[in-house]
């Protein structure tokens, strides 16, 4: 399995992300891993219109990104201050992470175009993105550039064995 793209946010169109092969791994800490044409992927960047928004304050914000080729479910965790997962980290760091997540949550509104980066994960068998970063794109041509980038990268980089040009 090619691990070249393990740590990069691979730019993918929704229909491509939804068609990734899911393989359950033997380790319980990383239950499923995703691959595309023999290349292991763990992080992705998607860009599209926010079409649904479900906010549970201090718990999570679940939203959907529609990029015209499919819908991707995204989860942004907002529970850093109460989660045992963060309890061993220094409180100022946790506060920073929590504030950033809260800021992202306030920017995500139905109808805006968002560029979302995160880990590819799975929930109830469906691919989703666990959000690490959000940028609201105000340039009306941003979506077009993203489609073209995804197509170019899929053809020149993600789909071939040779190194990227």
């Amino acid at each position: 399995m090619d691990l070249k793209f393990q740590h990069t946010y691979v730019k993918l169109l929704a229909f491509d992300l939804l068609s990734l092969a899911q393989t359950p791994s033997l380790s319980s800490s990383d239950p499923i891993f995703f691959s595309r044409l023999g290349k292991s992927l763990s992080r992705a960047e998607i860009l599209g219109i926010v079409t649904t928004r479900d906010h549970k304050p201090n718990k999570f914000l679940k939203f959907t990104i529609d990029d015209g080729t499919g819908c991707i479910s995204c989860i942004l965790w907002l529970n850093q201050l109460t989660s045992p997962y963060f309890s061993r980290r220094s409180p100022p760091d946790v506060r920073l992470i929590a504030d950033m997540a809260a800021h992202f949550a306030s920017e995500i509104k139905i109808g805006v175009v968002a560029r979302v980066r995160g880990r590819i994960s799975s929930y109830r068998g469906a691919v989703q993105i666990t959000v690490s970063d959000v940028v609201i794109e105000r340039d009306p041509n941003a979506e077009i550039f993203h489609w073209l980038n995804c197509i170019k990268l899929a053809r020149n980089c993600y789909g071939v064995a040779a190194p990227c040009k």
């Binding site: 079409t51 499919g70 009306p140």
Partner: protein, 125 residues
């Protein structure tokens, strides 16, 4: 928390939406783009145009969107086809896209469709 699956708005041009097209389906979730030609506040119906094609948009469910004649808008919604074959898009999302390069948009749409078709053809999983 149960969430009804929301369908993706398929990218179509207004020219694609004629009665003999496979995209002209009642209930289809579509994403359209066009210049605002007419808007009636009482009915919340907008008429958008792209080239020679026009489409009626029902904007009653949209919030925080101001309508300016001559501006370019993008809408995602479901297509309702009336008995006389007249179509209207029930928009659930809308945004002003003034500044968009429509030529680039249409060309990119073609490339995108080709890419999706190739992907389907080459898919082995």
């Amino acid at each position: 928390m149960a969430f009804p699956a929301i369908k993706s708005g398929e990218l179509v041009t207004l020219k694609d939406l004629h009665p003999s097209s496979p995209l002209f389906k009642h209930g289809a979730s579509l994403r359209v783009i066009g210049k605002l030609q007419e808007y009636t506040v009482e009915t919340a119906i907008a008429i958008v145009v792209d080239g020679n094609a026009i489409l009626k948009i029902d904007t009653q469910h949209l919030r925080d969107l101001s309508f300016r004649i001559g501006s370019v808008y993008q809408f995602i919604g479901e297509l309702l086809i009336q008995p006389d074959d007249e179509a209207i898009l029930q928009a659930r999302v809308g945004r002003n896209v003034d500044g968009i390069d429509l030529n680039l948009y249409h060309q990119s749409l073609q490339l995108l469709r080709q890419f999706q078709a190739d992907h389907l053809k080459n898919s082995t999983t």
